[in-house]
């Protein structure tokens, strides 16, 4: 099992953050320990679910997607965070404030507008397009206290580990502390032989 290095910082408290929060391994949580990478503090709980191509294939086959559409999905890499806002009145999920990277190299996200042309090519029905849309992480969400959100964020398939840096503004007016969580050494999982 890969032990995941996870870093959490509060932007407005860089010194405290440096002293107490960075870098740190994820702490023991009172809930069952998730199987994949995760992070928890008093403000947020985040875990990252990554499905193998075989699992993705089974999921979408179970939803009666055609194979051509599933093949389009399997050409990419799905990273599926689940985020729970435990403390802030509003925690801002804004995917434009997240970065996928490897060293200094940025890895661009595959955004929602990539998919309609793929679905046209593969002849995917409107119902299935709708279902697929609901499985994606919303681009923006004002996560309220005790609200959770989950969904897939898509990047081009990677053969080497990468880092996901999540930046969240907080407060209804986004003037609260900036929260940064870093997941290192994530991978696009492949099926085991």
């Amino acid at each position: 099992m890969i032990k995941q290095l996870v870093t959490g910082t509060l932007g407005s408290l860089p010194i405290l953050a440096a002293l107490f929060l960075t870098p740190c391994y994820a702490q023991q949580a009172p809930r069952p320990v998730p199987s994949g990478p995760w992070y928890e503090d008093d403000a947020v709980f985040i875990r990252i679910v990554q499905r193998t191509p075989e699992q993705l294939n089974a999921f979408y086959q179970g939803r009666e997607f055609n194979q051509a559409a599933i093949d389009q999905i399997l050409d990419t890499c799905f990273v599926t965070p689940i985020i729970h806002n435990k403390r802030f009145d509003v925690l801002w999920l804004e995917l434009d404030n997240w970065q996928f990277s490897r060293g200094a190299q940025q890895i661009p996200r595959i955004e929602r507008d990539y998919w309609p042309a793929k679905w046209e090519q593969s002849g995917l029905s409107q119902a299935h397009r709708s279902t697929f849309g609901w499985t994606l992480m919303p681009e923006v969400r004002d996560l309220r206290l005790d609200e959770s959100v989950g969904g897939s964020v898509v990047i081009p398939r990677q053969s080497r580990p990468f880092t996901l840096t999540m930046n969240f503004h907080s407060g209804a007016d986004k003037q609260g502390p900036l929260k940064t969580i870093v997941f290192k050494d994530l991978e696009c999982i492949i099926d085991k032989p």
């Binding site: 119902a127 279902t131 969400r141 005790d146």
Partner: protein, 175 residues
């Protein structure tokens, strides 16, 4: 003079009470419920699994629990038995539970509900377009529509509707 002061005090007290009423109502909401702005609910005309048409415009005079869900969504699967549990507790003429399945086939919906919520007959939003119009924050989501057809509350994600705090909230609605 004393009478005027007493009257002023009474007026001020009454005003304070009136001002504090909405916040009292909000304070007593269970976790994960948002107060909405009372705008009119979007149209909702769909057939249920039995092929019967249901139209929100014909559902005035009662509270509606309008719940968007899909069987593939983990929190939906966890929440559905709690909706089944509250279903017999409310008279549909006071609080009607309206399930809207998002973009799944009737076979999938039937198979899923037969196991976990056999008393519930969902509406089928076959292509997901009605769900899109309502713009839930995700699946599952539950809107509370008042007897005048206005959106009053939103349940964020899956909620344990059969627990005391949520049951109290639901009972307060229909009281």
């Amino acid at each position: 003079m004393h009478n005027r002061q007493a009257l002023n005090r009474a007026v001020v007290s009454a005003c304070l009470l009136l001002v504090s009423l909405p916040s009292m109502a909000v304070d007593t909401l269970p976790k994960g419920l948002l107060v909405l702005d009372g705008r009119e609910a979007p149209p909702l005309v769909l057939n249920n699994l039995d092929g019967e048409r249901w139209d929100i415009s014909e559902a005035r005079g009662r509270w509606l629990f309008v719940h968007f869900w899909a069987s593939w969504c983990g929190p939906c699967r966890k929440e559905m038995p709690t909706i089944q549990a509250i279903f017999p507790k409310f008279d549909a003429s006071q609080l009607e539970i309206v399930l809207v399945n998002t973009a799944e086939s009737e076979d999938v919906v039937f198979t899923f509900l037969a196991e976990v919520a056999p008393d519930l007959t969902p509406l089928v939003d076959a292509d997901g377009s009605v769900t899109q119009q309502w713009q839930p924050r995700g699946l599952p989501s539950t809107f509370f529509v008042d007897p005048e057809g206005r959106l009053q509350y939103l349940g964020l994600g899956g909620r344990p509707w059969d627990t005391t705090e949520y049951l109290r909230f639901l009972q307060r609605l229909v009281r």
